[in-house]
């Protein structure tokens, strides 16, 4: 019973915080409203006894929001959101998309005839999860992981304005790179 109440409360909190992302007028508030929404989802997972998934959701989403904050400074210096602005582009379109996906998922969840649980709940859901993801699909997961990582590196390389010729000269023979701010390693 307490679990049900927690799931319902946290669910409403997640939706409310999600709506707040569209309402607030500062990037920091929008970012942290989104984080609050994710944390509420993590709380739901916790109430469902999926500890590992809950904690990993909190961990990854927090890091993502913090990285988003880094990108904020790349484009503006706007302490405390003094200049009102919105995080959302095409607010109407995104609101419609969000609402319709929410409706579809909710209707689906309530109308699908879910199978009954067979057997008992495992002692260690984390271990079960690891085995079901990594057991039979190890190769797929590894390929996807390396593919994502390669994409990140390729994206960074394409976006970087300065290349090795800027750093080491046209003949690549400079002993120390020419950087605006020197790093800590002699490379």
């Amino acid at each position: 019973m307490a679990g049900d109440i927690a799931v319902v409360t946290l669910g409403m909190l997640a939706v409310a915080a999600g709506i707040a992302v569209f309402v607030v007028d500062s990037m920091a508030r929008a970012t942290f409203a989104l984080l609050a929404s994710f944390l509420a989802v993590a709380g739901i997972l916790l109430a469902l006894d999926l500890v590992y998934l809950a904690v990993v959701t909190a961990l990854m989403m927090t890091m993502e929001m913090a990285v988003m904050a880094i990108f904020m400074i790349m484009f503006m210096m706007n302490p405390a959101g003094l200049m009102p602005m919105t995080m959302v582009h095409n607010a109407r379109g995104s609101a419609v998309a969000g609402a319709s996906v929410f409706t579809v998922l909710t209707v689906g969840i309530w109308t699908i005839d879910w199978p009954a649980r067979q057997g008992t709940q495992p002692d260690d859901a984390t271990r079960q999860l690891g085995e079901s993801i990594m057991g039979g699909h190890m190769l797929v997961m590894l390929v996807i992981g390396i593919g994502l990582f390669a994409t990140i590196i390729a994206g960074t390389v394409l976006a970087t304005q300065r290349g090795r010729y800027d750093r080491f000269g046209p003949e690549l023979d400079a002993r120390r790179p020419h950087d605006p701010v020197a790093g800590g390693l002699p490379r």
Partner: protein
């Protein structure tokens, strides 16, 4: 993989002593560890003057009675939330550290919980810098963000290395796995990286650039009164909690002859705190420009290698 039978479940302190006493104990231990760390730190900064040990207590009283000041047009809501979150998260990270052999709550993902509290602390500290709408605080906040980003992965790998050897992410299992050999012997790199990353996440000692004197105190520059107390207490508690976690993960927790387990754990924790303070205060602040590059280019591969070595040892049955 070592044979991972279902662990004989060590009862959590909540199950053993009831919810309120268990929570009160964790909070009390967290506060005490924080105070001890702050006192040790003050003594070392004062050049070994033992009289300085009372310094933190006096500072606490001063901040409690001091009137709060504020800045022009701050984001009050986020600022307040963040200053309150810092100490709460630091105490929450203590929830998975065994006290007298029992954690406040025990899950199959204790180490990830500790890591998640750190990540949340990271976001909260950035917010503490963002909130007051002031240049120095904001620069400090972004320094902390860059610092946390550079140290998050090495710290994660260090935690996971301990979990890998134990075959479990539960802290009590990690302690049990060290019955024969402390993990510090086979994973010294992970041990050092863990302590350094903890200092980096509390922006203390050589990693204090986010609260550096060159930006007038950075993230804490605009805090006053109780809010200053909350954030500084959070930093000290997190450092104390990290020392306790370090003793748990790498120094065998409460294992040791003659003395009771709880006392051994406390001794190791205080020893680690002393080690951190003495080593950390020997050197000046490392400027982020320089060490962030070293963290990415050196620490990440080194911790990965450490994890690889431990993985090979696990396969060879070293920890079985």
């Amino acid at each position: 993989m070592p044979d991972m039978t279902t662990p004989e479940t060590v009862a959590t302190s909540v199950a053993a002593w009831g919810l309120l006493p268990a929570v009160a104990l964790v909070v009390a231990v967290a506060l005490a560890l924080g105070l001890v760390f702050a006192a040790l730190d003050r003594v070392v900064v004062a050049g070994g003057d033992a009289n300085a040990m009372a310094g933190p207590s006096r500072t606490v009283v001063r901040w409690l009675v001091k009137q709060r000041r504020t800045t022009l047009a701050p984001d009050r809501l986020l600022w307040r939330v963040a200053t309150g979150a810092v100490p709460v998260l630091a105490v929450l990270s203590m929830a998975v550290v065994p006290i007298a052999g029992r954690t406040l709550w025990s899950t199959s993902a204790d180490l990830v919980w500790f890591n998640a509290m750190e990540a949340l602390l990271w976001a909260a500290v950035w917010l503490v810098g963002w909130g007051p709408n002031a240049v120095h605080a904001l620069v400090g906040g972004y320094r902390f963000l860059a610092q946390g980003l550079a140290y998050e992965l090495p710290l994660m790998f260090a935690l996971i290395t301990a979990g890998l050897a134990a075959g479990s992410l539960r802290t009590t299992d990690v302690v049990a796995a060290q019955a024969d050999l402390w993990f510090v012997v086979t994973m010294p790199v992970a041990f050092v990286v863990f302590l350094a990353s903890a200092a980096a996440f509390a922006f203390w000692g050589p990693f204090a650039a986010p609260a550096g004197a060159d930006i007038a105190g950075g993230v804490v520059s605009e805090l006053s009164g109780v809010e200053r107390l909350l954030v500084e207490a959070g930093r000290a508690i997190f450092l104390g909690a990290s020392a306790a976690m370090g003793a748990t993960l790498f120094l065998g927790g409460g294992s040791g002859p003659w003395l009771p387990d709880a006392l051994w754990h406390l001794l190791k924790t205080v020893l680690l705190m002393g080690l951190m303070v003495v080593a950390g205060r020997r050197v000046p602040v490392l400027r982020p420009d320089r060490y962030v590059e070293a963290a990415w280019v050196v620490l990440v591969p080194v911790t990965l290698l450490q994890a690889l070595v431990v993985a090979v040892l696990v396969l060879s049955g070293m920890y079985a």
